[in-house]
């Protein structure tokens, strides 16, 4: 039996009808067309479906769409603003932190939230923060480099803004 719900994704309200069992990731991808976040496993392990729910990194495969009503959902599609890549997106490109790109939306969303909390992490902290995001292509080293570089860019931007760290959402 389907339910009518309203989900706010990247600032836009969407009205849709879903079964209670519909996972958030499928509502995003199949019902609303946000195909940035991907599906890589069904055991809540790989993190390729990671989105932000009320600013927190969440695996969208481990949440029911009906439970996301009333939350602000942000996907990778909204991380860049005004056609400009987010500093983390830039740094992933500069540091070759992606190859096939399938894990990348989740990886970037987790990293973006992590850097909000810890703007100047060391390499070990970065590796730990990404333990819920699997990548099979890069061997992670250039991802860690990308997060380090992205952090630096974000700190510089923050300093230039003279204020608190601004996130992608």
């Amino acid at each position: 039996m389907e339910r009518d719900i309203t989900l706010t994704v990247n600032g836009t309200e969407h009205e849709l009808s879903v079964e209670p069992r519909t996972l958030l990731i499928h509502a995003l991808r199949d019902e609303m067309g946000y195909t940035g976040p991907n599906v890589g496993c069904e055991s809540s392990t790989c993190g390729t479906c990671t989105v932000h729910v009320d600013g927190k990194a969440v695996k969208a495969c481990t949440e029911l769409a009906v439970r996301a009503e009333g939350s602000e959902i942000t996907t990778i599609e909204a991380l860049n603003e005004d056609g400009e890549l987010h500093p983390l997106q830039e740094s992933f490109q500069e540091e070759h932190g992606l190859q096939c790109g399938y894990c990348t939306p989740g990886m970037v969303m987790t990293a973006a939230e992590f850097l909000e909390e810890e703007p100047d992490p060391d390499r070990e902290e970065i590796r730990e923060a990404l333990e819920g995001n699997l990548c099979r292509c890069t061997g992670y080293q250039n991802i860690v480099n990308a997060v380090e570089t992205g952090a630096e860019k974000m700190r510089t931007e923050t300093a230039a803004d003279g204020g608190t760290v601004e996130g992608g959402d």
């Binding site: 039996m1 339910r3 079964e19 209670p20 069992r21 996972l23 599906v39 069904e42 055991s43 809540s44 392990t45 993190g47 990671t50 729910v53 927190k56 990194a57 969440v58 695996k59 495969c61 481990t62 949440e63 029911l64 009906v66 439970r67 987790t110 939230e113 992590f114 909390e117 923060a129 990404l130 333990e131 819920g132 995001n133």
Partner: protein, 266 residues
């Protein structure tokens, strides 16, 4: 990947949750969903109905209350792990919450859900035992009550995660109260080893009234598995019972070294 169909009920109060459960005897409660949804996606669980308590007010939060702190059932691991005051008050529980799963799981998974699911390989059971926490199962006063550590007490948690799942192959939580150099009270507990969290009385006995030094730590590690029924030690594809006991011994030492350092004794 695709859960079976179920009826969905959203509770707006503890009372409504209780009555929804009474009306739907086959229903499961869903809190953060990070234990339940994976089992539903893999087909291991197929409840007819879910009663969602995420909309119930007042179940979330880390509240200091005199000599103890109450953690609401719907409090996420991240909230617990990120609470600086709670780190001071009950280090072992805060530290353990920060070791559960991964970042995204900690943002969503809840303390109440974890305890209700009672997965032996989860991290919290050991910490709850070491911290001497009390679980209140129902009502507005529900949640976990964790007594505070005083100035002579230190605690901590170490774990050996499964490389694939991140669950604890062995986790050891310890809380030591010192009287000068010697151990006045030791609470050492493990998860991942038995089918439930368990106190390690062998290790505790080896520590109590002893001077907290490298020898005592080593002796406690060696005695960690002494009082466990070896037939009940978990054995799976990740590790044999024999190896779990070996890890238990080493990780007990590591936990005690960490706590000893925090206590300034080692």
């Amino acid at each position: 990947m695709y859960p079976d169909e179920f009826e969905y009920h959203s509770a707006d109060s503890v009372e409504s949750a209780v009555s929804l459960l009474a009306e739907n005897p086959e229903a499961e409660l869903i809190a953060g969903g990070h234990s339940l949804l994976p089992t539903m996606k893999s087909g291991l669980a197929s409840p007819d109905a879910l009663v969602d308590i995420s909309g119930v007010d007042g179940l979330e939060g880390v509240e200091r209350d005199g000599d103890s702190t109450r953690i609401g059932a719907m409090t996420t691991y991240a909230e617990v792990a990120d609470d600086d005051q709670f780190w001071e008050d009950a280090t072992v529980v805060a530290e353990t919450a920060g070791e559960i799963g991964d970042r995204q799981v900690r943002n969503r998974g809840t303390v109440g859900g974890n305890i209700a699911h009672a997965d032996p390989a989860s991290d919290l059971p050991g910490a709850m035992l070491a911290a001497d926490a009390t679980v209140h199962v129902h009502g507005p006063d529900g949640g976990v009550e964790v007594p505070h550590e005083d100035g002579d007490t230190a605690s901590g948690y170490v774990k050996k995660p499964s490389p694939s799942s991140g669950y604890a192959m062995v986790g050891v939580a310890a809380r030591l109260t010192l009287d000068g150099d010697s151990v006045a009270d030791a609470r050492v507990a493990a998860n991942g080893v038995m089918d439930h969290g368990t106190r390690l009385s062998g290790a505790e006995d080896a520590l109590e009234d002893e001077t907290l030094d490298a020898d005592a730590v080593e002796a406690a590690g060696a005695a960690a598995g002494d009082d466990l029924d070896e037939y009940m030690v978990m054995e799976d594809q990740q590790a044999s019972a024999e190896f779990r006991l070996q890890l238990l011994s080493v990780y007990t030492e590591r936990a005690l070294e960490k706590v000893g350092e925090r206590a300034g004794a080692l």
